[in-house]
């Protein structure tokens, strides 16, 4: 009789593949006990033979199984030993993937465009080099108007007829002259004033808005800006006040302040008790409409202008305006945005 238990025990104790191979030929080979037993089958009567054969086959299968299992076990062991040898230090630095960034001004322009897109504004553009006429005269700021002193203008010619636009408002004129009312545009763009200190840069970004239709009132202007400010700062409640002011190209004109408070030196926009001026606006002056060949008897509407860089500073806690334009690698890395972080309405403006 084969002592199955003992055989299986031996197999399970095999130390390596060679020993297992030896055990295999010893237990299942030609001269193995079990083989001898099979040979004896011929001498048994039919009935006994059947029973015996079945039990022998059973035993043989169990041995084979045990050997195969052991073989797999040894092989696994071998692989694992090999893998242990090829082990790497996974704490070594990962391979370099360069990280690009989007400038905060670009990101904020995308945010703003997305917000105004929702309520039907299209983006319009105009040249950075402008005529004195479009930049001032057409905007109801004739040559002897003292309001011109408030714009420190860069000129490109001696006669002061060609200049770098001091605001994005000339695009109002260009848009209205080249199309037919109604108009509903925003204009983000570069603007220039020859003024340079800690809080002024000779170039900055402005956002112009213009909505002209048959019956657009100051109520619409208020509603539009209220919507924008809340969306932009991603705050449900913001205190906002309109203060009368003066711009030659709007009448009535207003400046808009929003509420804020300081928290650890950072401005938190919302319901605080301090006021911060963020934009200028008003109803487009009838003279401007006339200059842009729009009939002020039929059409009216509002315009607004705000500093994009300042909005970016407020929203993202950036302190120094001039640093926007100094392309410092560390600053860009720190304040820049991931290129895949595209502001959208369904995802939300900022992560």
């Amino acid at each position: 009789m084969v002592d199955l238990r003992e055989l299986i025990q031996k197999v399970s104790q095999a130390k390596d593949k060679l020993e297992l191979q030896n055990l295999k030929s010893q237990f299942l080979g030609k001269n193995s006990q079990i083989n001898q037993e099979f040979k004896k089958l011929g001498s048994l009567n039919e009935n006994d033979r059947k029973i015996r054969a079945s039990s022998l086959n059973n035993e043989k299968q169990k041995i084979t199984e045990a050997i195969n299992n052991k073989l797999k076990e040894l092989e696994n062991l071998e692989i694992n030993q090999k893998l242990q040898k090829n082990k790497v230090d996974v704490t070594l630095p990962a391979r370099e993937r360069p990280n690009g960034k989007i400038h905060p001004v670009s990101q904020v322009i995308d945010e703003i465009s997305s917000i105004f897109s929702e309520i039907g504004f299209s983006v319009a553009e105009g040249p950075d080099v402008e005529s004195e006429y479009n930049n001032f005269t057409a905007l109801n700021t004739p040559e002897d108007h003292p309001a011109r002193d408030m714009h420190d203008t860069f000129y490109l010619d001696k006669n002061k007829k060609i200049l770098l636009r001091t605001h994005t408002s000339p695009v109002q004129i260009r848009t209205m002259l080249s199309g037919k009312a109604p108009f509903k545009i925003i204009v983000p763009g570069r603007t220039y004033r020859c003024d340079s200190d800690q809080t002024h840069a000779p170039m900055f970004h402005q956002l112009e808005g213009l909505h002209i239709d048959k019956d657009i009132t100051m109520g619409h202007l208020k509603g539009c800006l209220d919507y924008f400010v809340k969306e932009f700062f991603e705050v449900k409640k913001i205190r906002m006040r309109f203060r009368p002011s003066h711009f030659p190209f709007t009448e009535p004109s207003a400046e808009v302040d929003i509420g804020y408070r300081l928290e650890n030196g950072r401005i938190i926009v919302g319901e605080g008790d301090k006021w911060l001026e963020i934009l200028g606006c008003g109803m487009v002056h009838p003279n401007v409409l006339k200059n842009a060949k729009v009939d002020p008897k039929k059409f009216q509407g509002y315009a607004f202008g705000m500093g994009i860089d300042r909005l970016a500073m407020l929203k993202y806690g950036i302190n120094d305006l001039r640093s926007f334009f100094e392309a410092d690698f560390r600053w860009l890395n720190y304040f820049g945005f991931d290129p895949l972080d595209v502001p959208t309405n369904y995802r939300g403006l900022s992560r």
Partner: protein, 800 residues
């Protein structure tokens, strides 16, 4: 414009406190820029006690004073005054103070080897008297030691930013009127002024009928036998509080009237006027010495006040030294005139003069305020300096008739969105000085002479809502409706390319549109510079003709900070001329240094032309251009290394230029003085990117893929050294577009075992049919065809 509460109360009866007044000012459009505690510098002067006086160890005439401000701390101050003595109460100026007379800022300084912390002041040094005989002696002021010497301490100064449309608010009275209108008190009537005027104004005055005459009217009063002197304290303090310097009673009074009523005046020493006053246009090259001590050479048609000898003053801008008043002046001529704003502005701008009078006249003062101004000023001068006043004389238009405007009753509602009652309309306008006449359909408004800004109905609407309050407007929520696309094709490209390049590891920079001409020249040889007439500095003097101009400057700055491996880009305008529209949007990117610097597993290698080529091509593909349509050639710009740069054109070498790329020329690199000289870059010219006729999604062909086996064949061609790999790739692709799916170049070499002037190019070609599995025979046929066509088109032979 600075006002004080007490001055405001000369014209406004109100119980409102400062806070309320500030809020109201802001809400009616007179923006409060800040509240100051008396006039900055002056609050630094303290009442102090000299505790002990010792002799200066190194100087006989100097004394070393120990000064106290009433607390335990004392200061050592060196003083030369004879009256400096123990126990004296005087005025002390700490370090950092500017002395009014000398305009010198005090510093802690050693005087003859001993440090002095501040200064003890004389009346003359403070500009409050002519007494320079020793320091001020304050009697019975022991209890005030440590307090401010100047009394207007405690008086809050309200600094207002008055918009250019509101000249009437450049006088305290105008501001009071607005506040009263807004319900903050009662506007006081002007005091009735009476004094004797027993003789006619003796000096002949005429306004010449010149073309462009800048003077409309000229009123005058002659005051004789005055004794000019220092102003009394109340007047001095008022003048000081609003930021002006007291000079003499006569001058201070004219300034006072200007600040009070927004009525600029000028006082002449009548005895210095040669016979008569003639208001006329200047003659070219006429010169004139003004009260600011400068000599001005006048141009044609400037409005001058002159006598027989020549110009005495520039009308509405500045007076002249020749006829200026002094303490010795006995007889004066007071001028109250109206000068046209544009004339004043033009002259002042041409000569670059800025004065308080000019600021007011160019904005437009009340033309009907001549008498009012003369009256107030004459009365004050007589009161302070004595003398007798003449009757007033006025030449030119003596009064201007008020204009009227008609306004539709519905206009307010139409523009503002809310209604206003006719009672409220009347109340607001009347309180601002407008006269109103209301009818069913419209109302008629007569505009007061001090409001030159009111020109049409919309201006009246603004007055109404300004006083009513913007907070009364109910907001109308915007509709979430879009009928037009937000971005057009070019704007989408801008947005896409920005993010495409950033996603390849570049940091987006935003730099000025102007740059240093010396750097700009490096990238724009031969083209005309676009100069700025008035640049903010000489290294920002031209509009950039290339994105690289600024980008390389900032690349250098970053390298200098110790970052040699950088990728920067900017997208924005470059300029080709100084006319509107002579600009285009370009994306420029620079990459410098080494890839895999100090890496534990990869070998470091220099950034090269193929890095930037990959970035440029990939970006163009991401912008929607089929890679097959990108034609790469070695056409280049001179700021690139000529052997390691190229261009990408659309479809053919002559197609629109989409991009250029390459190593930046070593010459440019050394001119800019970069630390890490290995710099490559690329530019994408967005305006040249073709707009597809159809939407991108519609240009996609139906989706077909082959179910049959694909095969690969390798070829090595020996070919002329200068033959371009890109061309071979294209030739092989075109052999049979239906079968050849992909052509890869996997090896290029020349040199050893190669004939002179030849190179070997190894190509891997993927061949696959849509219809069947290709047999060995089919494949051989295609291969042969490739070999033949390459041979005929390029002369290249298959390498055996």
């Amino acid at each position: 414009m600075i006002i004080t509460l007490s001055w405001l109360k000369d014209h406004l009866v109100t119980n409102a406190n400062l806070e309320k007044i500030i809020d109201k000012l802001t809400s009616i459009g007179l923006e409060v820029e800040g509240i100051k505690e008396s006039q900055g510098e002056l609050s630094a002067f303290k009442i102090a006690k000299v505790l002990k006086v010792e002799k200066h160890p190194n100087a006989d005439k100097l004394k070393l004073c120990e000064v106290s401000l009433g607390n335990s701390k004392t200061f050592k101050v060196i003083c030369g005054a004879a009256n400096a003595r123990d126990g004296l109460v005087t005025v002390y100026a700490p370090p950092g103070t500017t002395i009014p007379k000398t305009k010198m800022k005090l510093k802690v300084a050693k005087i003859r080897g001993v440090e002095s912390h501040g200064m003890l002041c004389s009346g003359s040094e403070l500009n409050i008297s002519d007494d320079s005989n020793g320091i001020i002696e304050l009697k019975k002021r022991e209890k005030d030691i440590g307090k401010n010497y100047f009394k207007n301490k405690g008086e809050k100064l309200i600094d207002l930013s008055i918009t250019p449309n509101r000249p009437d608010c450049l006088g305290v009275r105008g501001i009071a009127r607005d506040l009263a209108s807004a319900g903050l008190g009662k506007f006081s009537n002007l005091k009735k002024i009476k004094f004797k005027q027993n003789f006619s104004q003796p000096i002949k005055i005429s306004i010449k009928k010149d073309k462009y005459q800048g003077c409309m009217s000229f009123g005058a009063c002659y005051i004789r036998n005055i004794k000019n002197k220092e102003s009394p304290k109340w007047l001095k303090e008022k003048i000081i509080s609003l930021g002006l310097k007291p000079i003499s009673a006569v001058v201070d009074v004219t300034n006072y009237v200007m600040l009070d009523l927004n009525r600029p005046l000028h006082a002449y020493d009548a005895d210095k006027i040669d016979k008569e006053i003639i208001v006329r246009n200047s003659k070219p090259e006429e010169s004139f010495e003004a009260l600011d001590g400068k000599k001005y050479i006048l141009k044609n048609n400037m409005c001058v006040i002159s006598d027989k000898k020549g110009a005495l003053g520039l009308g509405g801008i500045i007076g002249g030294i020749r006829s200026g008043t002094e303490f010795e002046t006995k007889n004066i001529l007071l001028e109250a005139a109206y000068f046209y704003p544009s004339s004043v502005r033009k002259t002042a701008n041409t000569l670059d003069i800025d004065t308080d009078a000019k600021y007011r006249f160019e904005r437009g003062i009340d033309p009907n305020s001549i008498k009012e101004g003369l009256q107030l000023a004459t009365e004050l001068i007589i009161k302070i300096c004595g003398g007798e006043a003449s009757k007033f004389s006025v030449v030119g238009k003596s009064t201007v008739k008020n204009r009227s405007i008609e306004i539709d009753n519905n206009k307010f509602r139409k523009v503002i969105g809310i209604p206003i009652s006719s009672n409220e309309t009347k109340k607001i306008l009347n309180s601002l000085g407008f006269k109103t006449k209301v009818s069913k359909k419209n109302f008629k408004v007569e505009i007061p002479s001090w409001r030159p800004d009111i020109k049409q109905d919309i201006d009246i609407i603004e007055e109404l809502i300004r006083i009513k309050g913007f907070d009364k407007i109910s907001l109308i929520h915007p509709e979430r409706k879009r009928s037009k696309e937000t971005l057009n094709f070019k704007q989408k490209l801008f947005h896409l390319s920005q993010r495409a390049v950033a996603s390849k590891g570049y940091l987006e920079a935003v730099t000025w549109s102007f740059t240093d001409s010396r750097v700009d020249k490096q990238f724009s040889q031969g083209k005309k510079e676009i100069e700025i007439t008035n640049p903010i500095s000489s290294d920002l003097n031209v509009l950039r003709r290339s994105i690289f101009s600024n980008l390389i400057i900032y690349l250098k700055k970053n390298q200098d900070r110790g970052y040699p491996d950088l990728s920067l880009f900017e997208i924005g305008p470059t300029f080709s001329g100084n006319k509107p529209g002579e600009q285009q949007v370009v994306l420029g990117a620079l990459k410098s240094g080494v890839s895999n610097r100090k890496s534990w597993d990869s070998k470091a290698r220099n950034i090269d032309v193929f890095d930037v080529k990959a970035d440029a091509i990939k970006t163009l593909v991401e912008l929607g251009i089929n890679e097959y349509d990108l034609y790469v050639s070695n056409n280049t710009h001179d700021y690139y290394n000529p052997g390691r740069s190229g261009s990408v054109n659309f479809k053919s070498p002559n197609g629109p230029k989409l991009a250029s790329f390459g190593e930046i020329h070593p010459g440019v690199v050394s001119n800019v003085d970069l630390k890490e000289g290995n710099v490559c870059g690329f530019e994408i010219f967005l305006k040249n990117l073709p707009e597809p006729e159809k939407k991108y999604r519609l240009t996609k062909r139906n989706y077909f893929v082959s179910e049959f086996q694909k095969s690969e064949r390798d070829f090595a061609f020996v070919i002329d050294k200068n033959y371009k790999a890109g061309d071979i790739q294209k030739i092989i692709s075109d052999v049979d577009n239906s079968l050849i799916k992909k052509v890869l170049i996997f090896d290029v070499f020349e040199g050893e075992n190669m004939p002179e002037g030849k190179k070997s190019i190894a190509v891997n070609v993927t061949i696959q049919s849509m219809e069947k599995t290709l047999s060995e025979k089919d494949l051989n046929e295609v291969s042969q065809k490739i070999i033949n066509i390459v041979k005929t088109k390029t002369g290249g032979t298959i390498r055996s």
